[in-house]
């Protein structure tokens, strides 16, 4: 009999085949994390092959990857937290790889407003509130033709009188004048 005390971090997962299907990293958007003994966050499944109408973008910029655009789909402020989502879409006819960063360099993705830089929030254990890097410190996503991936992050919110911010990334020109909505 396994002792919980002996193995404090033991977790059992039971999945029923053919019953509830679990979301899995699809071919259209596959985080290319390096092999690791620990599970890494998996990108959400993409829309079906006949892509539904995309939600309106607050701001759109070309990225430095030919054929991939960055669309800010959310920039909301609530309880002192700024939530930002950016949808990366591969509008080209072939697969593209988006290298978000290497070396755990989360701080390359920051928001600026009124002469201040706001960096991604970290929890009490030092984990950034954004898709996690692989154990090798990089975050990359493979996008098939027509595929998309939504990157997100939580920032400290600028004051209430700030109505627009700029998002700096590693993969595109600054996304400027993103309107902030309050929840």
């Amino acid at each position: 009999m396994t002792s919980c005390r002996a193995v404090p971090f033991l977790i059992f997962l039971i999945s029923v085949l053919g019953g509830c299907s679990k979301e899995s990293a699809p071919s259209a958007q596959t985080p290319s994390a390096a092999p690791s003994t620990a599970p890494t966050p998996v990108a959400a499944a993409p829309p079906p092959a006949a892509a539904p109408a995309a939600s309106a973008a607050l701001k759109t910029e070309d990225t430095n990857i030919d054929g991939v655009t960055a669309e800010v789909t959310e920039c909301t402020r609530k309880d002192g937290v700024l939530s930002v989502k950016v949808r990366f879409r591969n509008t080209s006819g072939g697969a593209k790889k988006v290298d978000f960063f290497a070396g755990h360099d989360y701080e390359k993705y920051y928001v600026s407003a009124a002469s201040k830089k706001y960096f991604i929030l970290k929890d009490t254990e030092g984990a950034y509130l954004t898709p996690a890097a692989s154990s090798f410190g990089g975050l990359s996503v493979n996008l098939q033709a027509g595929g998309q991936y939504t990157w997100w992050a939580k920032y400290p919110a600028p004051p209430a009188d700030i109505k627009a911010v700029t998002l700096y990334t590693q993969v595109a020109a600054p996304l400027e004048d993103i309107p902030v909505s309050d929840k």
Binding site: L13, S115, K122, W152
Partner: protein, 186 residues
């Protein structure tokens, strides 16, 4: 039916929740994280970097930007504590440096020919260090980008003495300087 066994190291279970930005757990973690949020002041980032470079009298090559600051403006005589009057120049330097976020910066201190070599080396080194400290603490520039070097009196840009051997105060003033080099290429 399939059974999978996972052994997780401490803390990783919490990280797994961060796959859903809209989950209550992520929002709760975000609110808790506000207590130690990182927010930096941007020192004068504007679009007018050309004007700032001109104000500073910067020399621009295809590989670097060179800025020379008179030590007499930055420091009192024989001191390496920055004067309040230094803020204006250093703020402009920080503006320029911020425009090249990946570029390394070299700060070099120089003295005139008066005093001993050892003293001048230490003074110039301390002065370069003081400029670096200001840029890190007030300019929002990462210290790891900045290298410092004191040259003492060994690299004059003007004569310390006139041809007849008498003192050249103007020359010595030119030699008392801090040079900043932003490597923009390579």
């Amino acid at each position: 039916m399939a059974v999978a066994l996972l052994i997780l190291p401490p803390g990783l279970a919490a990280a797994a929740n961060y796959s859903n930005p809209d989950s209550p757990e992520v929002m709760a973690a975000a609110r808790a994280a506000l207590a130690h949020a990182k927010i930096l002041d941007i020192v004068g980032i504007t679009l007018g970097i050309d004007a700032v470079l001109k104000d500073l009298g910067a020399r621009i090559t295809d590989r670097a930007i060179h800025i020379d600051l008179a030590a007499d403006v930055l420091f009192d005589f024989d001191k390496y504590t920055l004067r309040p009057a230094a803020n204006e120049s250093l703020t402009k330097v920080a503006q320029v440096v911020a425009g090249y976020p990946e570029a390394p910066l070299l700060v070099e201190g120089h003295t005139d020919g008066k005093g001993t070599h050892a003293y001048n080396m230490a003074l110039s080194d301390n002065r370069a260090g003081a400029v670096k400290k200001w840029l890190v603490e007030n300019g929002g520039i990462k210290g790891a980008r900045i290298m410092t070097k004191g040259w003492g009196e060994t690299k004059p840009v003007a004569p310390n003495k006139k041809p007849d051997g008498s003192d050249d105060p103007d020359g010595r003033q030119k030699n008392r300087r801090v040079e900043l080099t932003i490597t923009t290429k390579g």
